[in-house]
């Protein structure tokens, strides 16, 4: 049994596997299948300052080895979250990460202030949601806007701050460096790629929002390339996600430079995926005589 503990931005995780935001609700549903304490951490559903209804249905479309969603940050608002959801989660024995989203700088700031006063272990700042009209991804699309928002949030909270980056950009490395320069404690990547599907009979986009966010195994190679590039360019820890479904994928992510790995879409078809990944990773480490999972982080040897 190798040591699976990792430390991300000063927070200790019992293992590197974290459930991805938006794919695990506030934890209550999957808890009906297994205890949450098995997880390294949970990144909770994207939360905004005020309640949001989200987008009209259909919100889901299937693609080859992937899916599109246009949920649009449906959530009960941060105050409800802190009052009704968070207390329940605090004694679950796993790291609680609030995923913070918004549409204007001011929302983000008020949200961060609320979260700062709460018991969450970490804030994941989502500047990469492709499913909201204003804000969301646009903040993550340029170095300037990404810097600006991280600067403001950094002032509002002393919680460990992880910034979640969008892959829909020309140069994710510069954006990662910008948020690092503004004091982000970690970055997580990738959020979803913008995608579309059309119903050829009705001639309508399948999603009511026309386009949505692509996730699942289809995007894994894109995520891995970005994680590798970013990990080589920043000093803060990188959390890798995007299409991770097997323990082998998690190891690829860590070899590429990820300290933690999030699992999202895979849980929809295999609810036990995070546990299987933890187990498979552990066995592989043992088989290879590696005593500490930390030893493999960033150990890919480029040609």
């Amino acid at each position: 049994m190798a040591n699976l503990k990792v430390n991300i931005a000063g927070v200790e995780f019992k293992n590197p596997i974290i459930t991805a935001s938006g794919c695990f609700g506030f934890g209550r549903e999957y808890e009906k299948m297994y205890p949450l304490e098995k997880l390294g951490g949970m990144s909770l559903k994207g939360t905004t300052y005020a309640e949001r209804l989200g987008n009209p249905p259909p919100r889901i479309a299937e693609t080859a080895s992937g899916m599109l969603n246009s949920v649009g940050l449906q959530n009960p608002g941060v105050k409800h979250f802190i009052k009704e959801e968070l207390p329940y989660l605090l004694d679950k024995g796993t790291v609680i990460i609030a995923n913070a989203a918004g549409s204007a700088l001011e929302d983000y700031r008020m949200l961060a202030e609320e979260l700062d006063q709460s018991a969450v272990d970490m804030i994941e700042l989502n500047i990469s949601c492709p499913n909201v009209k204003s804000g969301g991804m646009t903040f993550g699309a340029s170095c300037e806007s990404a810097s600006e928002i991280v600067r403001e949030i950094r002032k509002a909270t002393s919680k460990p701050l992880m910034v979640k980056l969008s892959p829909n950009v020309t140069d994710i490395v510069s954006i990662a460096q910008s948020v690092e320069a503004e004091g982000a404690d970690a970055v997580s990547l990738i959020n979803t790629l913008v995608g579309m599907r059309i119903d050829i009979e009705s001639r309508r986009p399948i999603l009511h929002q026309n386009t949505g966010g692509l996730s699942g195994p289809a995007v894994f190679p894109v995520a891995l390339a970005m994680v590798w590039k970013v990990a080589n360019a920043v000093k803060i820890p990188v959390v890798g996600l995007g299409g991770v479904e097997k323990w082998q994928d998690a190891i690829e992510m860590m070899l590429a430079g990820a300290t933690g790995v999030q699992v999202g879409t895979a849980m929809f078809y295999d609810p036990y995926a995070p546990l299987k990944i933890i187990e498979g990773m552990n066995e592989w480490l043992d088989r290879n005589g590696i005593a500490d999972v930390g030893e493999i982080i960033g150990q890919v040897r480029p040609w």
Binding site: G22, C23, F24, G25, R28, E29, Y30, K32, M33, K45, L53, G54, N55, P56, P57, P58, R59, I60, A61, E62, T63, S65, G66, M67, N69, V71, Q74, I206, G216, P217, T265, M267, F268, Y269, D270, P271, Y272
Partner: protein
């Protein structure tokens, strides 16, 4: 309550109408917790998302579920290729199911096309106190009428082209049935247009009505918020509830069609 997910052997497979398949799966742990109106979520090789399929019948003694589905696209097509003895990856039981009154209440189940299967387990509960109003495109698409018959229901058929039963819609038959006498509850599953019409008639006659809705799903348990459906709030406003967790069965009054 807990959710179960595992692979289970297929015990029987039948083609019961053009493109409609009837499977019995041996999954005692899921069956023992299943109720009328709930559904299971089935993983299909080569597809990212599971397919939601209603529970048509539960046999707790035998530990089996009966699932009846129509081939609509590549996922249901792949499901229909599974043979007896193959393993099916099933997650369930999911959703809330129908509210069942005492078996001596007068119930009406209304099934439209492939919306018929989930009504069977419900009809069984009320047996001869149940009227089953079933509508199909044509005689070739009629399914399960004998099963409803066998549970003692008063079965009334309608087809769009009149090739079997009443020539017209289930709503004609529903109105007729309500004019014949009262009912304590109406359950309906089928195309949205049909559900809306059934709900309107139920309202008109002042009968409680539950409808089973469909929406595209990912997780099936309320974690992804993918399967939103617009619902009327108490104050007349709108909110989204989730078909997989808050449904698939909703009080017809709160559904915004």
């Amino acid at each position: 309550m807990s959710y179960i997910q595992n692979v289970y052997p297929i015990q029987s497979r039948d083609a019961i109408a053009r493109d409609v398949f009837d499977y019995v799966v041996a999954c005692p742990d899921i069956a023992s917790q299943s109720h009328a109106g709930q559904f299971v979520h089935i993983r299909v090789a080569g597809h990212t998302l599971r397919r939601p399929i209603s529970i048509c019948e539960v046999n707790r003694e035998k530990g089996t579920l009966r699932l009846v589905f129509e081939v609509r696209g590549s996922g249901t097509e792949a499901m229909s290729m599974l043979s007896v003895g193959d393993l099916m990856d099933v997650m369930g039981p999911l959703g809330n199911g129908f509210t069942l009154l005492s078996p001596d209440s007068r119930a009406i189940v209304v099934g439209g096309g492939i919306g018929t299967p989930p009504m069977l387990e419900t009809a069984k509960h009320y047996a001869e106190n149940c009227t089953a109003i079933l509508g199909f495109r044509d005689a070739a698409h009629v399914i399960l009428d004998e099963d409803f018959d066998a549970c003692g229901c008063d079965v009334r058929l309608a087809t769009d082209d009149g090739s079997k039963g009443h020539h017209g819609f289930v709503t004609d038959l529903l109105r007729q049935r309500l004019e014949e006498g009262g009912a304590d509850i109406i359950y309906a599953c089928g195309p949205k247009g049909m559900l809306q019409a059934v709900a309107a008639i139920a309202e008109e006659f002042g009968v409680r009505c539950e409808v089973s809705l469909e929406e595209r799903m990912a997780c099936g348990i309320g974690a992804c918020l993918g399967c939103a459906t617009p619902i009327r709030t108490a104050d007349g406003g709108m909110t989204y509830k989730h078909v997989c967790k808050d449904g698939p069965v909703f009080d017809a009054k709160e559904v915004i069609f």
